[in-house]
């Protein structure tokens, strides 16, 4: 190494040490501050300077007197994040950094529940996801127990307790056997958020019809149509009646009215009648008269 370069590096080293020493002697920063909580920065020396607290979440500038602590009252610094503290005097500038961490007490939940409506009896059919925030809308990254509770109108309750990871928690619940509006609640401490999940009957189950002759027609009538859990399938659900005769087919789509569907079809000896709703097949009747 050339002597000139050596000298330069040595001098830069001295300057760096000088700066480091100066940094240690002028400003003493906390390592971390809780959001919204008051704190102070110890400052030594004499004279005046400007103190900047700067981060993506907030920017503060204050004129300070060296030798006196800079006091930040409650609520001064409330957005969590990494901040630079810069003490700038007429002949020096000193920079440090510290973190503002979220308040430990949860105050807000962002709760997403899906779907808002689904058939009864679906395994893991309902999902809920939560992000946990403090009172300043800072995401609380520390693990926090989140309680998810799904209450059916019958009083049946499913409850899961999940620890959040990096502020997020989720669960999956079964839809209950009974139709109605269920309450889906996410709770952290005394903070809760509620969603309503509508549970509607599932597909028809055990679809059955009977036949009765009415002149030249056959009157086909279903039994009250219910799902596999005994819930009445809603009126308006389409039921399809099919008559098969000599290789030809004719069909009638009839909506459920008051829980049953009806159709009148040609009465022909040797015809076969069947009933279906969606992908669910019902019984068949052969007409021999």
């Amino acid at each position: 190494m050339k002597p000139r370069s050596s000298l330069l590096f040595a001098c830069l080293g001295v300057a760096a040490i000088h700066l480091a020493f100066a940094q240690a002697e002028r400003m003493s920063l906390p390592k971390a501050v809780e959001a919204g909580v008051g704190f102070s920065i110890q400052i030594t020396g004499t004279g005046n300077a400007a103190l900047y607290i700067v981060g993506p979440g907030q920017a503060i500038r204050r004129d300070v007197q060296l030798g006196q602590p800079a006091v930040f009252s409650s609520g001064s610094l409330y957005n969590a994040g990494h901040y630079l503290a810069v003490l700038a005097g007429s002949s020096f500038s000193e920079t440090g950094s510290f973190d503002v961490i979220p308040a430990s007490k949860p105050a807000n939940l962002s709760f997403l529940a899906k779907p808002s409506r689904l058939p009864v009896g679906l395994h893991d059919g309902i999902t809920g996801a939560v992000y946990v925030f403090d009172g300043y809308h800072n995401l609380i990254a520390a693990p926090t127990p989140v309680s998810f509770e799904l209450s059916a109108s019958s009083g049946a309750v499913q409850k899961h307790i999940v620890a959040s990871h990096d502020g997020a928690a989720w669960t999956a619940m079964d839809s209950t056997a009974e139709q109605g509006s269920d309450k889906f609640v996410a709770r952290v401490g005394d903070v809760s958020s509620t969603r309503v999940v509508g549970q509607v009957p599932g597909d028809p189950c055990g679809l059955k019809m009977s036949a009765k002759q009415d002149g030249k027609k056959i009157q086909l009538t279903t039994d009250p149509v219910r799902d596999c859990h005994g819930n009445a399938v809603p009126d308006g659900t389409i039921v399809t009646f099919t008559e098969t005769y000599s290789g030809a087919q004719s069909t009638i789509d009839a909506p459920l009215k008051r829980g049953i569907a009806e159709a009148a079809m040609e009465a022909r000896a040797g015809a076969t009648f069947s009933v279906a709703s969606g992908v669910v097949m019902g019984n068949q009747i052969g007409w021999a008269k």
Partner: protein, 167 residues
Amino acid sequence: MTSPKFLLILVTGFAATSTLAAAQAAVHVEPVNLQGPRHLEAQSQAAVIRDYLRAWNGFSAALEQNRPELLDVDFVGTAKDKLAGTIKQQSELGIHTRYQDRSHDLQILFYSPDGLSIELADKVEYDVQVIDHDKVVTTQRESARYLVVLTPAEVRWKVRVFQSVPE
């Protein structure tokens, strides 16, 4: 021999006149280790990371120029409100800040079951410069772990939560 006082001025002067050279940040993506039942398609992962990295450009430009409208493309909700609040404070104080990301180490943490949010962690290294009325007050290289929540908008993912946490 050069006096320490002169060197101090030299070093300070160098720091004050140096600008943050804009260069492409190095990006490393950790293997996906999701909590949650939903599978994340490679295409979705790529889109989220692309939009998040673009958001750094928007954030950087908005805080340097003190123009909150530059946040509109990439930010939404709490993240946008907080950054806009900082820009307002900076404007009132007559300061602005230059952020230049140098490297990102990204990991997708959570894909919500409904597909409406993705959370990722970013160990980011960045340079930050604080300027008070055109005078550079400090230039620092910092590192932080960011937690970021993105939600889908019409044509892109937008940042809804943008917050660093202690490493």
